[in-house]
């Protein structure tokens, strides 16, 4: 896994859209040790689609999942990919991170590049209130269809707490109080 080459290829593909990168090296093994890499690249939201397109073109990526992180004024989306699967010690995780302002929570879909991303994107719509532009199916996937709260948002904590209370003390309870 040539980390420098990977970063360089992204830098040339994205130009200004490439904001920062980080490499985490870990040693594994107790008899003969080896090294595995977790790579992080922060990209601008408008260049996210290009970054994923470059990833799909230059490597054969596997999307593990998209995770979201409520940072207060902004919301970070981490697209956890892995590249280099198929060979021993060949794989590294490559996470593309993009930060969205809460005032404009939109992000382009990547399902045109990688159809398997649909489940993860639908999950972000319902759990974080992100608007994924261009997704073919934006219905709730894990939450019930009539649920309107966004559980992972720290600023909408109150609404979620109300829903929790509604569940814990629901009116039709049998046999209690």
């Amino acid at each position: 896994m040539n980390v420098a080459n990977l970063f360089a290829s992204f830098r040339s593909a994205l130009g200004d859209g490439y904001l920062e990168d980080r490499t985490i090296e870990r040693t594994v093994g107790t008899v003969e040790t080896g090294t595995v890499y977790d790579l992080w690249i922060v990209v601008e939201r408008d260049r996210l689609h290009d970054a994923v397109a470059h990833l799909c073109e230059a490597y054969d990526p596997h999307l593990s999942v998209i995770s979201g992180d409520d940072l207060g004024e902004t919301l970070a989306l981490n697209y956890h990919f892995t590249v280099g699967w198929g060979a021993r010690y060949g794989e590294a995780t490559v996470t593309l991170r993009t930060v969205l302002p809460k005032s404009d929570l939109t992000v382009p879909t990547i399902t045109d590049l990688l159809p398997g991303a649909q489940t993860s994107e639908r999950e972000k719509i319902e759990f974080l209130g992100v608007d994924v532009v261009g997704i073919p199916d934006d219905r709730n996937i894990f939450l019930p269809e009539d649920m309107t709260i966004h559980p992972w948002r720290k600023d909408l904590e109150e609404e979620t707490a109300k829903e929790v209370k509604r569940m814990v003390k629901w009116e039709g309870r049998h046999g209690h109080e």
Binding site: I24, V28, H62, S64, R88, G116, S120
Partner: protein, 421 residues
């Protein structure tokens, strides 16, 4: 006589043009996770499928982010009761990577042994359930009886049949002492002796082959595009296996190879038969891994931070992001954790179970096959349970009838009898 003239005036073309929409689930009689399918049928052929999961959604990440990390660890164990060590293995790795905590070598080997034992019991469970869906109840009972040996061993080594509570941050909670290793070697001999019989029963059986060959096909390209994981993708020939690609724990000391149907000598098609091949051969691989770990078990401590209050204090002080991945029996388990200094709970926690990755691969698998194949195709990705039950049929005239899971399984078994003559 007494026949309504209108009822015999249907034209042939009219009959053929009728399609049915069949919603299936979420409640099913036998041990299956609730999930709702909606099939569009043209006669017996499936031409469209829609999946609605979420009936077992409990809000694990939401609850976990409100508890301290050790409580969240016990919660993560109960995300799934079949792969109950897979989530803790990935979660502990994520937190240890985020906090920079080292795991002693002996603990890594013990984690690996229990993880592989879980793989054996999970694959045997799946094989029995698959046999049941096809109508071979005898094989279900035989396989699950054989599986009990693993459950016994797990109980003898860890104290419980399920939810072993073995991994903890910085190591493992219990040791596998010398006096107990003979139990593991006995189990290894037992399974090695049975392996050929299992392969004969599942893979050299004409009726199983007729029901599973070319049924529920997922091509190589579809598997890669849909980011499928685990035996589902390996059955299509995709050599993805976290233990091979990005080694961790004791797997880093062994040369693990992703098993595809080529290991059995056949070209991968990605059908249900290939899924059986991959899972049975992985049982054999798991036995070899356990034997290696027992023979090469390093000595040393079990936890690098043995006292729990010190551990909690170290975790509270830690800050950083960590990714943990594990090859569970069903595929890649992925945990992402972000820790902040001074905060006991994880500030961000994302869990990805393998069925999450394999959910979309159901769609190409179902299309083109018959309704009688629905139970076995649904089971083929090992969705932590198969899920077929009460089906609501509505025909073109709007007459409805409710058929039970037994009806679908009966259709499945009748097809077996039809094909096998």
């Amino acid at each position: 006589m007494g026949m309504n003239n209108q009822s015999i005036n249907l034209e042939i073309g009219q009959c053929a043009a009728t399609t049915y929409s069949v919603p299936v689930g979420p409640v099913h009689p036998a041990l299956k996770e609730p999930i709702r399918f909606s099939f569009n049928l043209d006669g017996e052929r499936i031409v469209g499928v829609d999946i609605k999961p979420g009936f077992a959604h409990r809000g694990i990440e939401y609850m976990g982010m409100k508890r301290n990390l050790i409580q969240a660890l016990y919660l993560s164990e109960r995300i799934c009761g079949i792969c109950s060590i897979s989530h803790p293995l990935a979660f502990t790795q994520a937190v240890e990577n985020a906090a920079g905590i080292e795991v002693p070598p002996r603990a890594q080997y013990i984690r690996t042994i229990i993880g592989e034992l879980e793989r054996i019991h999970s694959h045997l469970l799946w094989a029995g359930v698959g046999a049941h869906e096809l109508g071979f109840d005898t094989l279900l009972h035989l396989t699950w009886n054989v599986r009990e040996k693993t459950m016994d061993l797990l109980e003898q080594l860890t104290g419980n049949r399920v939810d072993y509570a073995i991994p903890i941050f910085s190591g493992v909670r219990r040791d596998i002492p010398e006096e107990k290793t003979h139990l593991a070697y006995e189990a290894i001999d037992y399974y090695r002796g049975l392996l050929q019989q299992m392969i004969d029963a599942y893979l050299h059986d004409k009726s199983v082959e007729l029901r599973t060959r070319n049924v529920g096909v997922l091509t190589y390209d579809q598997a890669v595009e849909l980011c499928a994981a685990g035996p589902t993708t390996r059955a299509s020939g995709v050599k993805k296996d976290v233990r091979q690609d990005m080694p961790y724990l004791a797997y880093a000391d062994m040369a693990i190879e992703a098993i595809t149907p080529e290991a059995f000598g056949t070209e991968p098609i990605g059908d249900v038969y290939d899924n059986i091949i991959v899972r049975l051969l992985e049982v054999a691989q798991a036995i070899d891994i356990i034997e290696y770990c027992l023979e090469n078990m390093p000595s040393g401590e079990l936890m690098s931070i043995p006292k729990v209050p010190a551990l909690l204090a170290a975790l509270k002080k830690a800050s950083g992001e960590g990714i943990g991945r594990h090859e569970a029996p069903r595929g890649e388990v992925f945990h992402y954790v972000r820790l902040e200094e001074g905060v006991e709970e994880a500030v961000a926690w994302k869990v990805k179970a393998p069925t999450y990755s394999n959910l979309m691969s159901w769609v190409p698998k179902f299309l083109g096959d018959e309704i009688a194949d629905v139970p076995i195709i649904a089971a083929s990705i090992d969705p932590c349970m198969c899920c077929m039950d009460r089906a609501h049929f509505a025909d073109a005239q709007g007459n409805t009838s409710v058929r039970m899971k037994q009806e679908l399984v009966r259709l499945s078994r009748e097809k077996t009898r039809r094909i096998c003559g």
